[in-house]
């Protein structure tokens, strides 16, 4: 055992010792406790307490000012039977699936493209991060300029190319497509960074060995690259799923959830229910259902990470 301040070995080095029933409150433990206290306090204040309060609100018929009276699970019942909720749930799924896999495919393609050396590679790498670094409020404004009205540049371009004059934000289906494409544009740099980091950790000799055995580029990709980055891929999918389901500004700033609620995901529905219709209980119930879906999905994917360990 190394020399260390009294009791350090319990916390720092002697981690594989059997856990004592009643741990002594040594100075090290106190230090560790003090170091983690501010973070735990914030966790309690910003997450735990509001979550408890939200649980309370979801079974009451209160407003933003009053607590209201107990109404049981009727807020959840009303939510789960309303058409607006299911429409929003459907769009959340579409938006998330397109957002996660669209940005992953683009990010993967670019990471592969930028892996080999060619002139200007460093500059491209930095420039391609811009969509992610530029604030969403700014890029949403820019998208508004590009697509909002029939005299905007994009509809004009479509017209000139003989593709008709689609109403990008006024037609429900086109609005959904526009929002999804915009989300992929915002998120692909994140995926590119994740995939690049994972690819760079693969030992080059593995590829050399595969080439000697006659593996084609495609075989190297599906046989080496994809399995080797599987762990990081699952993580990036989990993170992006969370980002997409919770994404408020990308959608709200571009379409406001319209036209006719066609681009309203659960998070926008929850916001509107609370802050525009002033129905706190039902709004919080929607947010809770959303939370539940997220926890389930990320737990399932989290298990996949554990399976996808290197052989």
């Amino acid at each position: 055992m190394t020399i260390s301040p009294a009791g350090t070995e319990h916390v720092v080095a002697g981690l594989h010792r059997p856990v004592r029933r009643r741990p002594r409150l040594t100075s090290v433990r106190v230090t560790m406790l003090l170091l983690v206290t501010p973070s735990a306090f914030l966790l309690l204040l910003i997450t735990a307490y509001p979550l408890g309060y939200a649980a309370f609100q979801s079974v009451h018929d209160g407003t933003l000012i009053t607590g209201g009276s107990y109404v049981g699970l009727s807020n959840y019942g009303n939510t789960l039977t309303s058409a607006a909720f299911w429409d929003a749930a459907k769009f959340t799924v579409v938006f998330t699936v397109v957002g996660v896999f669209g940005s992953w495919l683009v990010g993967l393609g670019l990471a592969l493209l930028l892996r080999s050396k060619f002139p200007g590679r460093g500059l491209f790498k930095v420039l391609l991060l811009l969509p992610w670094v530029v604030p969403v409020v700014v890029s949403a404004t820019s998208m508004n300029y590009l697509v909002a009205t029939s005299s905007s540049p994009m509809p004009k371009l479509f017209h000139a190319l003989g593709l008709g004059s689609p109403l990008f934000l006024a037609d429900p289906t086109w609005a959904q497509v526009t929002v999804c494409v915009y989300k992929v544009w915002v998120s692909f740099p994140f995926m590119m960074l994740m995939v690049s980091a994972a690819l760079s950790s693969i030992d080059e000799t593995v590829y050399e060995a595969a080439r000697v055995d006659g593996a084609s580029s495609w075989q190297q990709f599906t046989g080496i690259s994809l399995p080797m980055i599987a762990r990081s891929t699952y993580i990036s999918w989990i993170l992006m799923t969370i980002f997409c389901v919770n994404d408020f500004p990308t959608i709200y700033l571009l379409t406001g959830g319209g036209p006719e609620s066609s681009t309203t995901p659960l998070v926008v529905l929850a916001y509107r229910t609370v802050f525009q219709d002033f129905q706190v209980g039902p709004g919080v119930a929607i947010a809770f259902v959303m939370t539940l879906i997220l926890v389930v999905v990320s737990t399932l994917l989290y298990r996949q990470i554990r399976k996808a360990t290197y052989q």
Partner: protein
């Protein structure tokens, strides 16, 4: 001869470098063209912002191709300067407090073991996936009682809380790479655990600190949802709210709108442009995978 045969032969006969020299120019050209094309398309929304901000606005008498009058207009006639100051204050406050809170917590996650520590780290994972909207609604009610609604202080507190779990992971991931032996040497010399954290681990994880700082900077600078819920008056607006409200009222005044947009985009681009080599998204993923 098929492509595969050629490669096998080239590799086995030891002429790989020669082949590579022959193949590279054409491949490079193809990759360069593809990267250029994709980057050009991806840059359109960004380029539009910069271009429109430099064009003479509607009602302008200027005939110049490029002008800065949108910027002078915006700074004189709108509250952009106030919004910029608000955004800077909230963001810098959030970054400093986040790092100050996440660094010690990250140290505990990195060095400590046992059920309590791993439980806490799992808790941070769960918290990270919770929708901000769920906690924002009750917080609004609580903050209203405390007089923290419509205040930059309240906004900063929420940002620190929202970014804390990921920030803690990022710090823990970097501190994992600081060898324990460095600390043990300090302990031999009589340093306390807190002393070795402050003088050994923290200075050695400066890239981690910067990475965490960039992350929290981006979170609070770009936030719209928390700000729209908590901030009500024009003078307390942060830039996202200011830009959005100005845009709603002056939809056709693209020059001024985009000038504010450029003012808002510059700080994150400068921060990221100068510090991006310290920023590793892989760090976030790695931290998560280590749980």
């Amino acid at each position: 001869m098929t492509a595969v045969d050629e490669r096998v032969l080239a590799a086995s006969s030891g002429s790989a470098p020669l082949r590579a020299n022959r193949m590279r120019p054409r491949r490079q050209w193809w990759r360069f063209a593809a990267a250029l094309g994709i980057t050009a398309i991806a840059m359109i929304p960004v380029a539009v912002v910069v271009y429109l901000s430099l064009r003479p606005g509607t009602g302008s008498t200027s005939t110049a191709t490029i002008t800065f009058e949108n910027f002078t207009n915006v700074f004189q006639a709108t509250q952009t300067l106030t919004w910029l100051r608000n955004s800077l204050m909230v963001t810098l406050g959030t970054v400093v407090v986040s790092v100050a809170v996440a660094a010690p917590a990250g140290y505990v996650l990195s060095r400590g073991r046992g059920r309590t520590v791993s439980g806490y780290s799992l808790l941070l994972f769960v918290v990270q996936s919770l929708p901000v909207i769920t906690s924002v609604i009750p917080l609004f009610i609580v903050f209203a009682k405390l007089g923290l609604v419509d205040s930059l202080l309240g906004l900063g507190i929420v940002y620190v809380g929202v970014s804390m779990s990921v920030a803690t992971w990022m710090m823990a991931a970097y501190m994992d790479s600081v060898p324990l032996s460095l600390e043990q040497a300090a302990w031999i010399d009589g340093a306390s655990v807190f002393g070795s954290f402050l003088r050994i681990v923290l200075p050695n994880s400066l890239p981690g600190v910067l990475s965490t700082a960039i992350f929290t900077f981006l979170v609070s600078w770009n936030d719209y949802l928390v700000a729209i819920v908590f901030i009500r008056t024009n003078t307390a607006f942060t830039l996202p709210l200011g830009l959005e409200s100005f845009f709603q009222q002056n939809v056709t005044d693209w020059g001024s709108v985009m000038a504010i947009a450029v003012v808002m985009t510059a700080p994150p681009v400068i921060v990221f442009g100068t510090l991006h080599r310290f920023f590793s998204v892989g760090g976030i993923g790695g931290a998560l995978a280590g749980q």
